[in-house]
């Protein structure tokens, strides 16, 4: 049962991901992206990580995908299907994408992932919270600072020039 569900979610995720990059209509690709996020959330649920699944939906679907759609809607010229599919940055991006894929593939295959023994804890959230302020306090804070910086930067860019 678990395996069936996993393959189902995997197919949904990968299929939707392919649609994201092949659909000509920008808004439709954004909607396919949402389906990708849902597929990933489903896989999280299968891994007994409900918290991550919900956060995945909340942050990726609720905020990031929404903002992408918003940006797409505001620039309607871009949505013209007659526009060329590639622009002059296509090669650079392809190079970086390949590099990223290689790095990820190496990491996935080379690192010895620790496998949890036994069932997942019932109330994993509390453990997660304790870990955030305990052993992982420094990365957590660094991520927060990064986000704050990004937010301030966004505000400065968006501010009207007087």
């Amino acid at each position: 049962m678990q395996h069936v569900m996993f393959f189902l979610f995997a197919i949904i995720t990968l299929g939707a991901a392919i649609m994201v990059v092949t659909t000509r209509n920008l808004l439709r690709s954004a909607l396919w992206l949402i389906l990708v996020f849902f597929g990933i959330a489903g896989i999280f649920v299968l891994l007994n990580a409900e918290f991550l699944a919900v956060v995945q939906i909340l942050v990726y679907v609720g905020a990031i995908a929404t903002l992408i759609i918003f940006a797409v809607m505001l620039t309607r010229q871009v949505m013209d299907p007659k526009q060329p599919r590639f622009n002059d940055q296509a090669r650079v991006v392809a190079g970086f994408a390949t590099l990223l894929f290689v790095v990820l593939a190496v990491i996935v295959t080379r690192v010895a992932w620790p496998v949890a023994i036994g069932a997942a804890p019932v109330d994993a959230i509390q453990q997660l919270g304790m870990d955030f302020v305990g052993p992982y306090a420094v990365p957590f804070e660094v991520a927060s600072v990064l986000l704050v910086v990004a937010m301030i930067g966004a505000i400065i860019i968006a501010r009207e020039h007087e």
Binding site: I34, I57, L58, V61, G62, A63, T66, I125
Partner: protein
């Protein structure tokens, strides 16, 4: 007698036992899941039928009218007549609409409205699925609604719908933050995100302990459901109906059902988080009373929301966003810090609650004073000495 006392739960047990007699184990699970799903799907529909009638009656009374009184006694079948009308209407799809997206949006918005009901505790142990992240789940499901509204607004190929969709993004994203912050306060006090646990730990309703969180949540919830005075996404006097202006017939009906389903769900969540859910006099001794209390409290919240709709004009988009970011978010943040600090005090829980209440009242007072002053300044800017 015991059977009656815990009627719903015992009934569920008997049901499962009964069908297990003739069916294999996996089939029992499937049947029960299907039944549960059916109940979830039916909840928004039932809510719509009941609430449209109630809303028309309540607003009718507010406006010196009788409200519906022709179809059935007190017009109670009015909603059914409306539903029939909606079913037999022509289904129109605009010529240049993005058809798949256009058709998917009503389904998605209804799914969002139905899924909320999974975590609402109607009574003790009467809950679809007592998720350990229940409170967060409620917020996450809300984002599905956002996506559905965006899809509807864009796919309609209509400028009013597009403006409505723009407003939706600004409004829902802004009000999600005070909403999460006020739910966070409750979660902090309870120490769990389980809806059941949240209700069980309210020996005193949280609205009396955390009035700031309560008010913030209700205001944010009104905005999330897009009801007056925050109904900018479908502002009928400005952008006609906003994102669903091009929908007709049953597809419009899905939006309608989702709207009222969300209204009821949000009121139910307010009841759960702040009004003590199914708790009430003798509910401990006779759990069958629980659902009754729950529904009474929910309807009370709905009534207040209808009252607001019948009496207040609408905010403008900039005022509304300013209200979220400049009033609700700071108040909720300060409240969160205060409550977190109060929880660390080495005193009995009752004293902690008292400290929270004092802090909440202070935040409320300061917020209202600042609001009053800014209103006076606004008036002064336009050369007026107050109204």
């Amino acid at each position: 007698m015991d059977y009656i006392r815990d009627f719903f739960i015992n009934f569920a047990h008997s049901w499962t036992t009964w069908i297990s007699g003739g069916l294999p184990g996996w089939a029992v699970t499937v049947v029960n899941f299907l039944l549960g799903g059916l109940i979830l799907v039916m909840m928004p529909v039932i809510a719509t039928l009941a609430l449209t009638w109630m809303e028309r009656k309540v607003i009718g009374r507010i406006q010196n009218r009788l409200g519906p009184n022709r179809v059935g006694p007190w017009g109670i079948f009015q909603a059914i007549a409306d539903a029939v009308k909606m079913l037999i209407k022509e289904d129109i799809i605009p010529d240049r609409a993005d058809r798949p997206v256009f058709n998917l949006a009503p389904i998605l918005i209804f799914v969002g409205a139905a899924m909320l009901w999974a975590v609402i505790p109607f009574g003790r142990r009467m809950i679809g699925q007592d998720l350990n992240i229940g409170a967060l789940y409620v917020v996450a499901i809300g984002s599905i609604t956002t996506v559905a509204v965006l899809m509807a607004g864009w796919a309609s190929n209509n400028k009013f719908a597009l403006i409505g969709a723009f407003r939706v993004v600004a409004q829902l994203l802004s009000y999600e933050i005070p909403m999460v912050l006020s739910i966070g306060v409750v979660v902090l006090v309870v120490g769990s995100m389980r809806m059941g646990t949240i209700v069980e730990s309210q020996w005193v309703p949280f609205c009396l302990v955390l009035p700031v969180a309560f008010i913030t949540y209700v205001l944010a919830a009104i905005a999330e459901t897009g009801r007056a005075p925050f109904d900018l996404l479908e502002a009928d006097s400005e952008i006609v109906a906003g994102y669903f202006v091009e929908y007709s017939g049953l597809k419009f009906g899905w939006f309608y059902i989702a709207e009222y389903g969300n209204l009821m769900a949000v009121s139910a969540i307010t009841t759960t988080l702040f009004l003590g859910g199914w708790r009430g006099p003798f509910a401990g001794a006779a759990p069958v009373l629980g659902p009754l209390y729950f529904i009474i409290k929910t309807v009370l919240v709905i009534f207040v929301l209808m009252w607001i709709r019948g009496t207040l004009p609408r905010f403008r988009i900039d005022q509304m966003l300013a209200f979220a970011w400049k009033v609700l978010v700071p108040a909720a943040l300060v409240n969160l810090l205060w409550v977190a600090a109060a929880l660390k005090l080495p005193v009995p829980q009752a004293v902690q609650y008292a400290v929270m209440l004092v802090g909440n009242l202070a935040i409320l007072g300061v917020t209202l004073t600042l609001l009053g002053q800014s209103a006076k300044q606004h008036a002064k800017r336009h050369g007026l000495a107050g109204a």
